[in-house]
C-alpha cells in the first residue's frame, strides 16, 4: 500500500493519543488515582500505531500487560479504558480487570493479559475463527521478546504453522523483560529468526520508525490475509519508563533512555510528515489539541464515574445460558 497523508495523519493521531494517555496515567498513578500495576509503553508507540493502521474492525488482536497502546490503536474507547484504570463501574471491565485486562470483543480486542505469553495461543484460536470465516480476517498477537522464552510462544507458533492460520506474531522488542536485559535471557540475536523453527518467515523492523512499520506491515499483513500462513515480525524499540510505574530502573545503564529519547518515534514521524509530506505544523497541532480534548473528557468521565458497589464483585462470573 502506498503511504499517503491520510495514513500518516491517522498514525500520528494514534501515537499522540497513546503517548498522552500514558503520560496522564503516569501522573494520575503518582497522585493516587490509579491503583495496582501500571505498565507503560511510552517510546514504543510507533509499533501499535503502525501495525493496527492496517487492521479492520473485525480483525483480532491479543495484547499483553503493556497493552494500552495496542488497544488504543485497535480503536478502543479511551473513556472506557481510562475509567477501567481508575477502577470505575463505567470502565471496560466494570473495574474488575484493570490495566492488564482491557478487552473489547466487538472490535476484536481479545484482551490484554497478565500472563506473559498467554495471548499467543489465544490469538491462534482467533486466527482459526478468522480462517473459518474465509473473508481475509487476520489475528495479530502482540508480545514482548521476554515472552519468547515461554512455552506458549512455541506451542502457539507451532500450532499456527501446522494449521496454516492467518496470524501475525508481533514481537515488540523493547530490550528488557522486567529488569532483565535481552542479552541475559535470549540466546539468539533476534526473535524473528526463531521463525525458522516453524518453517515461517521472520521480519525485523525498526519499531521507532512509524513509516517503516506501516510500510513493511502493509505487505506482510496482505500476505497473511491472502492465506499464506503465519509470520513473525519483530519491531525493535524501547520503553522510556520503568517496567511498571514506580520501578527505579537501577538495571539500566546510565544515559540509555536518553539515547532512545533521541529516537522519539513521534518526533521522527513529525519530521517525516513536515519534511517529506509537507504536512504543516498547524495540522499536527490540531491533532494534538483534539487528543488533549478527548483525554480531558476521558479524565473527567473517569473521575466522575462511580466506583462499583461491593456486591458487583459477584457478577459476571458466568454467562447466562439459554439452555435451549
Amino acid at each position: 500500500m502506498e503511504v499517503n497523508k491520510q495514513h500518516l495523519l491517522g498514525i500520528y493521531q494514534t501515537m499522540v493519543m497513546i503517548r498522552r494517555f500514558e503520560e496522564r496515567m503516569s501522573q494520575l498513578f503518582a497522585s493516587g488515582h490509579i491503583p495496582g500495576f501500571l505498565h507503560l509503553s511510552i517510546g514504543q508507540e510507533a509499533v501499535a500505531a503502525g501495525v493496527c493502521a492496517h487492521l479492520r474492525e473485525n480483525d483480532y488482536i491479543t495484547s499483553t500487560h503493556r497493552g494500552h497502546g495496542h488497544c488504543i490503536a485497535k480503536g478502543a474507547n479511551v473513556k472506557k479504558m481510562m475509567a477501567e484504570l481508575f477502577g470505575k463501574q463505567t470502565g471496560y471491565c466494570k473495574g474488575k480487570g484493570g490495566s492488564m485486562h482491557v478487552a473489547d470483543v466487538d472490535i476484536g480486542i481479545l484482551g490484554a493479559n497478565g500472563i506473559v505469553g498467554a495471548g499467543l495461543p489465544i490469538a491462534v484460536g482467533a486466527a482459526l475463527s478468522a480462517k473459518s470465516q474465509g473473508n481475509g480476517q487476520v489475528a495479530v498477537s502482540f508480545f514482548g521478546e521476554g515472552a519468547s522464552g515461554s512455552g506458549y510462544f512455541h506451542e502457539a507458533l507451532n500450532m499456527a504453522a501446522v494449521l496454516k492460520l492467518p496470524i501475525i506474531f508481533l514481537c515488540e522488542s523493547n530490550q528488557y523483560a522486567e529488569f532483565t536485559s535481552r542479552s541475559t535471557h535470549l540466546p539468539v540475536l533476534t526473535v524473528a529468526e526463531r521463525s525458522k523453527a516453524y518453517g515461517l518467515e521472520g521480519f525485523c523492523v525498526d519499531g521507532n520508525n512509524a513509516l517503516e512499520v506501516f510500510e513493511k506491515l502493509s505487505f506482510i499483513i496482505e500476505t497473511v490475509r491472502a492465506g499464506n500462513g503465519p509470520v513473525i515480525v519483530e519491531c525493535f524499540t524501547n520503553r522510556w519508563t520503568g517496567h511498571y510505574e514506580g520501578d527505579p530502573q537501577r538495571y539500566r545503564p546510565e544515559g540509555e533512555v536518553q539515547e532512545w529519547k533521541k529516537k522519539d518515534p513521534i518526533l521522527a514521524l513529525e519530521k517525516v510528515m513536515t519534511n517529506q509530506y509537507k504536512i504543516v505544523n498547524p495540522q499536527l497541532e490540531e491533532i494534538r489539541k483534539f487528543v488533549e480534548k478527548e483525554l480531558d473528557e476521558a479524565e473527567q468521565f473517569s473521575k466522575n464515574s462511580p466506583l462499583p458497589q461491593g456486591e458487583e464483585t459477584l457478577e459476571d462470573v458466568y454467562a447466562a445460558t439459554s439452555g435451549r
Binding site: T62, V105, A123, G125, M159
Partner: protein, 331 residues
C-alpha cells in the same frame, strides 16, 4: 432406545451437536484420523472434515488456547485433553484464561468451550495417567465441571455442555468407557446442577461420583440387606453443585457418606462435608464420612491400586461406622 457404551454415547453427543451447529468443532491429539485414544471421536473426521475435526501437535497449552481464542471469537470448540493428568501442562489456560476471561473483562466475553478429558484409576496406568483432579477444578470460579457416571447422563450432559455459554470441563472416567447403558433414540439434554437420586433410602445418604456410583450402588444393596436403608445420590455436575438435593436427603437420613476416588485431603468430599454441616448441622446424627483415596499418588501395581481405590467394602465400613453405636439398631 439403544444400548450404548459410554464412549459411544459421548460420540453420539458430539455427532449430534456438530450436525446441529456448524460452529461446533473438535480438536486434540489423535482425535481425527485415528478416532481418539478411546474411540470417542471415531468417524467424526470422515463425517465433518478436517476443518472441524482437528488433529493437533502435542501442545495442550495451545490446544486450550485454541479453544479460548476461538470461543471468544464466535466458534464453539470442544477440545480434548487426553488424560486429566495432563491439565498440568495447560493449567494456566484453564485457571487464568478460560475461567477468568469473562469476569476480568467485566462480562465482555462469552467463552462457550468444552474441554473433554478422561480421568480415574483402575487400569494400572500409573501415577501420571490415573488421577482424579476435579477438586482443583471445583475451586476455580468461572468453570463448570461435569462428571457423568453412565451412558445416558454422558450423552445428555455433553450436549448441555456444548450449548453452555461458559467453559465446561467434561470428565470421562476411563473405567466407564466400556460400560453399557440405555440411551433414547430421540434427542434429550440433561440440565447442569441437578443431581440424580440413583436409589432412595431413609437411613444414610451416600453421595458418589463417576465410577464410584456403581460401587456405591453395590454397597447400598448390601447395606439394605443388613437393614440399613441407603439413599444414593449422583450429583453429576460438581459446578454447579445441586446442594438442595444433597441437603434434602441428609435432612431426611441424618447421615452422610461421600465417596470419590480422588485423594481425601482437599477432595470434593471436604467441600460437600463443610457445606452440609454449615447448612444442616442440627440434622446430623453422626459425623460425615469420606471414602476416598489415601494421600498418595496412584500406584501402578494391582494390589496397590486396589488398596488405593475406594470400593464397596470401604463404603460399607464407612456407613457402618456412623450407624452402629450411634442410635442405630441393625435389624
Amino acid at each position: 432406545m439403544a444400548l450404548l457404551r459410554f464412549n459411544q454415547a459421548i460420540n453420539a453427543a458430539l455427532k449430534e451437536e456438530m450436525t446441529l451447529n456448524p460452529q461446533v468443532f473438535i480438536a486434540g491429539e489423535d482425535i481425527g484420523a485415528s478416532g481418539g485414544s478411546f474411540g470417542v471421536t471415531k468417524g467424526l473426521l470422515k463425517e465433518f472434515g478436517g476443518s472441524r475435526v482437528i488433529d493437533t501437535p502435542i501442545s495442550e497449552g495451545a490446544i486450550v488456547g485454541l479453544a479460548v481464542g476461538s470461543a471468544a471469537s464466535g466458534l464453539r470448540p470442544v477440545v480434548e485433553i487426553m488424560f486429566i493428568d495432563f491439565i498440568g501442562v495447560c493449567f494456566d489456560m484453564i485457571l487464568n484464561q478460560a475461567a477468568k476471561m469473562r469476569y476480568m473483562t467485566g462480562g465482555n466475553m462469552n467463552l462457550p468451550l468444552v474441554i473433554r478429558t478422561q480421568s480415574g484409576a483402575g487400569s494400572n496406568a500409573g501415577p501420571q495417567h490415573s488421577q482424579s483432579l476435579e477438586a482443583m477444578l471445583m475451586h476455580i470460579p468461572g468453570l463448570k465441571v461435569v462428571m457423568p457416571s453412565n451412558s445416558y447422563d454422558a450423552k445428555g450432559l455433553l450436549k448441555t455442555a456444548i450449548r453452555d455459554e461458559n467453559p465446561v470441563i467434561f470428565i470421562e472416567n476411563k473405567m466407564l468407557y466400556g460400560s453399557k447403558g440405555e440411551v433414547p433414540d430421540e434427542e434429550y439434554t440433561i440440565p447442569f446442577g441437578k443431581a440424580k437420586v440413583v436409589k432412595e433410602g431413609n437411613d444414610v445418604t451416600i453421595v458418589a461420583l463417576g465410577q464410584m456410583v456403581p460401587k456405591a450402588l453395590l454397597a447400598a444393596n448390601e447395606l439394605d440387606k443388613k437393614g440399613i436403608s441407603t439413599e444414593v445420590i449422583d450429583p453429576r455436575t460438581i459446578t454447579p453443585l445441586d446442594k438442595d438435593s444433597i441437603l434434602q436427603s441428609v435432612i431426611k437420613t441424618g447421615r452422610l457418606v461421600i465417596v470419590h476416588e480422588a485423594v481425601k485431603i482437599g477432595g470434593i468430599g471436604a467441600e460437600i462435608t463443610a457445606m452440609v454441616q454449615e447448612e444442616a448441622f442440627d440434622y446430623l446424627d453422626a459425623p460425615i464420612q469420606r471414602v476416598a483415596a489415601p494421600f498418595t499418588p496412584v500406584p501402578y501395581s494391582k494390589p496397590l491400586e486396589d488398596y488405593y481405590l475406594p470400593n464397596e467394602n470401604k463404603i460399607i465400613e464407612a456407613v457402618m461406622r456412623i450407624c452402629v453405636g450411634r442410635q442405630f439398631a441393625l435389624s
